[in-house]
């Protein structure tokens, strides 16, 4: 009950801005600055049209792109790669996390390995993935799944290791089997952390797939972007980049909503403070 008072006081100190009109005005300002800079650059700023095409041309390029079959096929390839890579990384990462958390020794021995894998710059391996798996979609999936595996497995293991003993006592007291303990106790208690690992995995997969397509591929939006760049079709290049941004943000939103803890009392660690910021290109 003192909560109302203390909440009030907390608000006084860390007032969350609620004036949405001002917020939108500020965002609009940023947009205007970007657009203004662009218009200035292509106009009086005299930036060469070989670097920055006029905004109008980019928009008409976008309009053209979305009516072509090529674009939608490329989009399909990219999204397919992302989903398969994510599923692979999630299944392997989460099950390995459970497996490793079964005994203290296993957990202790493996946790640093996973965290080192987390720190490892997987992107440097991509040229080798091309060598091993080929230039097709296989190398994108393999690379993105590898990159996303580590954060998922690491966070799963960390989550499972920090399950409060009091819950496990209940399991022991009621004679729960290992599988039942995994399913009904550990999975539930570690859920927020596992989901947080999966959300990181979503971002890592998206980042990795696009990067891989840019670095070497023969299909997908990243490939189209790279091709537009190398053939100096600038409006297309900017257009695809913007479309890709929209696709990535949309996909991220959708998957994140799907991976948000829904049960009351299991608040997700705030998106900002989750261990996350461990994302890499």
């Amino acid at each position: 009950m003192a909560t109302t008072e203390s909440a009030f006081r907390a608000r006084a100190f860390r007032a969350r801005a609620k004036h949405s009109s001002t917020v939108w005005a500020l965002r609009l300002l940023l947009l205007l600055i970007v657009v203004g800079a662009w218009l200035y650059g292509t106009g009086p700023g005299e930036i060469s049209f070989l670097i920055l095409p006029p905004l109008g041309e980019v928009f008409s390029a976008i309009g053209g792109l979305v009516t072509t079959q090529v674009f939608w096929t490329a989009l399909g390839v990219t999204v397919f790669e992302m989903l398969v890579a994510f599923l692979l990384a999630a299944v392997v990462g989460v099950s390995l996390g459970f497996f490793l958390s079964r005994t203290p020794l296993r957990a202790q021995a493996s946790e640093p390995l996973l965290s080192w894998g987390y720190m490892f710059p997987v992107v440097l391996l991509y040229p080798l993935f091309l060598l091993w798996v080929g230039v097709g979609i296989g190398s994108k999936i393999a690379y993105a799944a590898t990159a996303a595996f580590f954060p998922i497995a690491y966070n799963t293991l960390r989550g499972l290791r920090s399950v409060d003993e009091k819950y496990l006592k209940v399991g022991v007291a009621f004679g729960a089997s290992r599988l039942a303990t995994d399913r009904h106790i550990k999975a539930g208690a570690a859920r927020p952390m596992i989901l947080s690992g999966l959300r990181i995995g979503v971002s890592v997969v998206m980042i990795s797939v696009v990067l891989a397509e840019l670095l070497g591929s023969n299909a997908g939006l990243g490939y189209e972007l790279q091709r537009a760049a190398s053939t100096l079709r600038l409006p297309d290049e900017y257009g695809i980049a913007l479309l890709l941004l929209v696709v990535a943000v949309t996909l991220q939103r959708v998957l994140e909503l799907a991976l948000r803890p829904r049960r009351p009392g299991q608040k997700a660690p705030s998106r900002a403070t989750e261990p996350a910021a461990q994302l890499d290109e």
């Binding site: 009950m1 003192a2 909560t3 109302t4 008072e5 006081r9 006084a12």
Partner: protein
């Protein structure tokens, strides 16, 4: 002489747009120099709000707070220093630095800070922990550090917001008798918020009883027992009589509140 005077205080705030919650209203009270006043009331009655207004942490919606003769519009720890319920020591500073924190904020010189902090830390009996970190101390000890931090400002009034609220019964007792010694020696006015009947009586020259929200003052009780007091006071008939009276008042208030769901609240 009057140190602190509260006149017609009301505090209201918006919980959601358009929804107004009156925390307390029509609060008028005075704290005389050297007087020990306790404020008791059911939880959520706005007693902490009143204290925060007295210290200038919260602007009143109506009414005003006067210190000496001047209106309080912002905190001034040289006049009235706070001791918070959750100690609020800085975990990254050692104990001595924590005691000196108020002086640091006030812009005092390094030697002055060190000297005064060490003096006050000795005064609360924790001199040997000067270089420990807060997390190495028990809750009761941390609270004494918070008191030392306030005393280092040499304020005329101490404002204590449920200082024993976060402690277990045992620590409350020990801290209580320690604190009795400390506070009596300082000869300062104290305003102490509590929801414990025993505490309210044990400490007070005067008890102010507040009603449930919106909090108003429903009674003032003087406690004439001589000082210094010790725990044996609790067995005195006068103590028991006041306790019964307080119990009735608070109980009545609790009952008046709307019935609450069992698992509700916190």
């Amino acid at each position: 002489m009057t140190d602190l005077r509260v006149e017609g205080l009301q505090v209201a705030y918006e919980t959601r747009p358009g929804e107004r919650l009156v925390a307390c209203q029509d609060i008028s009270l005075t704290v005389a120099s050297g007087e020990f006043v306790t404020i008791i009331g059911p939880s959520g009655c706005g007693k902490s709000t009143v204290l925060h207004c007295m210290g200038g942490l919260l602007p009143p919606t109506q009414g005003r707070v006067l210190f000496g003769g001047d209106e309080v519009v912002q905190p001034n720890p040289h006049n009235a220093a706070f001791v918070f319920q959750d100690y609020s020591l800085f975990p990254w500073k050692n104990i001595l630095e924590n005691v000196g924190m108020g002086l640091t904020f006030a812009g005092a010189g390094k030697t002055e800070i060190a000297g005064k902090a060490a003096e006050k830390l000795d005064f609360v009996g924790l001199g040997e922990f000067a270089h420990a970190l807060p997390r190495e101390l028990s809750g009761g000890m941390q609270q004494r550090v918070a008191v030392a931090r306030a005393l280092a400002m040499e304020p005329r009034v101490l404002l204590m917001d449920e200082p024993f609220g976060a402690l277990d019964e045992q620590s409350r007792r020990t801290l209580g008798s320690d604190m009795a010694r400390i506070l009596e020696q300082t000869q300062r006015s104290v305003v102490l918020i509590t929801h414990s009947l025993d505490e309210a009586i044990f400490w007070a020259d005067r008890i102010i009883v507040m009603s449930a929200r919106p909090g108003t003052i429903i009674e003032e009780i003087e406690v004439k027992a001589p000082r210094p007091r010790d725990l044996s006071m609790m067995t005195e008939p006068e103590f028991q009589a006041i306790r019964v009276r307080l119990f009735d008042l608070i109980q009545l208030q609790q009952a008046k509140k709307a019935p609450q769901p069992l698992a509700g609240g916190r």
